[in-house]
Amino acid sequence: MTATRDLTDLTSREVGLPVDGGPGGDRGAGWSGRRFWALLALVAVGWTLWSAGVGRQEIVNPGGWTLLARFWRAALDPQLSGEFLRRTWDASLTTVAFAVLGTALSVAIGLVAGVLTSETWWRRTRGGRRPGWLAGRALLGLPRGTHEAVWGLFLVNVLGRDPMVGVLAIAIPFGAITAKVYAELIDEAAGGPYDVLRAAGAGRVVALAYAVLPRTLPDMVSYAFYRFECSIRSAVILGMIGAGGLGLELNLAFQGLAYREMWTLIYALVAVSAVADLWGATLRRRGTPRRIRTSLLAGGALVVAGAVHLGPDLGRLVSARTRSLLADVAARAWPPRPPADGWGGLVSRSLDTVEMSLLAVAIGGSLAVVAAFVAARGGETPGRRAVALAARLALLVTRAIPPPVWALLVLFVLFPGPFPGALALGIYNFGILGRLMAEAVENLEPAPGAALAALGASPASVFAYATLPLSAGRFAAYGLYRWEVAVRETVVVGVVGAGGLGRLLEQQRAAFDYQGMLATVLALVAVSVVVDLISASARRAIR
């Protein structure tokens, strides 16, 4: 028995879905529901491919292959001069510091807001409090629906070039997501013991601390470390838009087409991501209370070290200058104004964004399904285990390299448009989904497959009759979950000219068109909300 849950269970809570387990009953539409959604997904992906011009027009730019080849050749020859290594080391520290402080702050936000938005907190009190719960939940929707990069662009206008921009850009959206997950965990663990303490006269905080917190702590820590993994990746992306660290260095190296320097930075990225991912995965697989305590202490030490390294100017958050800049940005952004081709143009770009995200998840997801079975731990022969390790390494590299870099690489050989953007996001999501799915495969219950092997089924039949059907539901749930994230991520590939709302946002930013930016951000939020709703009903139907 592991101490903590696996990731489907935890990530399901990000969108507020009931977690699986327990017998049937209210399981929704059944086969027809599954078939309907599968068909819909196929049609949607087909439409997306067609409208991206695959098979209809020239999308490959043959001239770019030599550049791409030069980039890959540099992998064997990274820049290892002492000066550049020092610079890389420094940038790595900055990125880790952003991620650590961002995670710490989002966990703090998550704890407070999680308690305040839990049903448990509002339960059994006099009338008039229930609206408080609804208002809390609704309030968390906006920060959750907006990508870290968008927050970064906004904050840099208000705070100027300050490390707090990177930290807050991570902490605001992640804090809202964490609050959602923590609220769900609290509500699930509340029940009996909490009510007993409340009935005995304990206050809400005391009752939570004694009856609920001890039971939810392992899951909360486990989720915090999953968020830390995500924060590292976000910190790199924020670096690329100017916050500093590995992302910024990577951007500079790319602009100078300095491939050897790029590879040094990429190796640093992979190393940092590997440590974060391994840490989180170890806690999920073998999270003994002692390991959790040690991890918490180490995390605390990292927070202090990160704060010292970045030296953020907290005074600036509340300074008069910040307040006036905030008022200024607000005044210049209101009212929102559509781009030159009107609201219709905004709608068509929103569709582009949806297409890109769909295509990205279709590409990344289908590759990830194959990779998951190759990469899952628990192979029986040494050769099989070596292959699995190599696959996990490949997945690590694909998700450690941020989507904007993938987009720039893809643009070497493809003509600009939504397709290269989708491909870049697809490669990146392949790394993330492959890893999530491999973990799901490792966590499959072994008994049904063993039962089939015991009645003489061949390994291939065991795979087809047990492993695949048992994992398909989780795979689909992960795919939908990443689709929701991918919609928000289209912003970061849009920034490099890959199309959709992200590209528009970048053009408006370059032109200081704040009213236009507000309209685009609102469109992005609207698209995320619609996608979340579709995804949530699909997930409910296929459970």
Partner: protein
């Protein structure tokens, strides 16, 4: 002999689950394994399908020494041995027809097995098996949407279509109330009687073992305490077997 275990020793970690264990089961016999939790009953059953390897001794199933068989031979033995599990071990997201057909996987080619997932093969056989256990109308439902009792029947139907010579049952009724337990034992008895099959079943319920089987083997701490015809088993033996300490 359908089953011959000689001087078998199985060790999990440092703790021996079975030590010097002997058991012979002849064709058509119905044998119950009884004894307290941790006596090694499940280990005996797992030995019979090669799920556990003994560290000493010999396990012979249907004339094959499982210590020396090739993987192909092991598969050939396994498809002649059907198992009913306490946890059922069905694949929940698959439709009932596929879970029943899974009993045929030892016989089918890989190609046939995969094709059947798209267009179910031998549907009539599966439907007849489900009719035998009383749930013919559930053929196309998703297995995890059935009630616990219905899923138990699916597991029995899977054994039926497998047509095994030896049936192993690991605590098939210990999570059921007495009335349902009798019902499942009736069905299991029918499946066994069908072709004069051999049954080796582990049971907690002493009375059930005496009524339903020809022979009762009492186990404690990995050893045989008694091995008697069901008629000769007394209540005192049972009290002694389950004594604590």
């Amino acid at each position: 002999m359908v089953l011959a275990l000689r001087g078998v020793r199985v060790v999990y970690g440092r703790h021996p689950a079975l030590d010097g264990f002997d058991l012979d089961v002849a064709a058509g016999e119905r044998v119950a394994l009884v004894g307290p939790s941790g006596a090694g009953k499940t280990t005996v059953l797992r030995l019979c399908t090669g799920g556990v390897q003994p560290s000493a001794g010999r396990v012979e199933v249907l004339g094959h020494d499982l210590g020396t068989v090739t993987p192909e031979e092991l598969r050939a033995v396994r498809r002649r041995v059907g198992t009913v599990y306490q946890q059922l071990n069905l694949v929940g997201p698959l439709r009932v027809v596929h879970n029943v057909n899974a009993g045929r996987l030892g016989w089918w080619t890989r190609r046939r097995a995969v094709r059947s997932l798209v267009k179910p093969a031998e549907v009539d056989v599966a439907r007849a098996a489900l009719a035998r256990v009383g749930i013919a109308d559930k053929l196309h439902e998703r297995t995890d949407r059935l009630s616990g009792g219905e899923q138990q029947r699916v597991a029995l139907a899977r054994v039926l279509v497998q047509e095994p010579e030896l049936i192993l049952a690991d605590e098939p009724v210990s999570s059921l109330d007495p009335a349902r337990a009798e019902e499942v034992m009736d069905l299991l008895g029918e499946v066994v009687a069908d072709r004069g099959r051999t049954l080796l079943v582990s049971l907690h319920d002493f009375g059930l073992a005496r009524r339903r089987c020809d022979r009762v083997v009492g186990m404690r701490a990995g050893r045989v305490v008694f091995d008697l015809p069901a008629g000769d088993v007394t209540d005192e033996l049972g009290v002694e077997l389950y004594r604590i300490g």
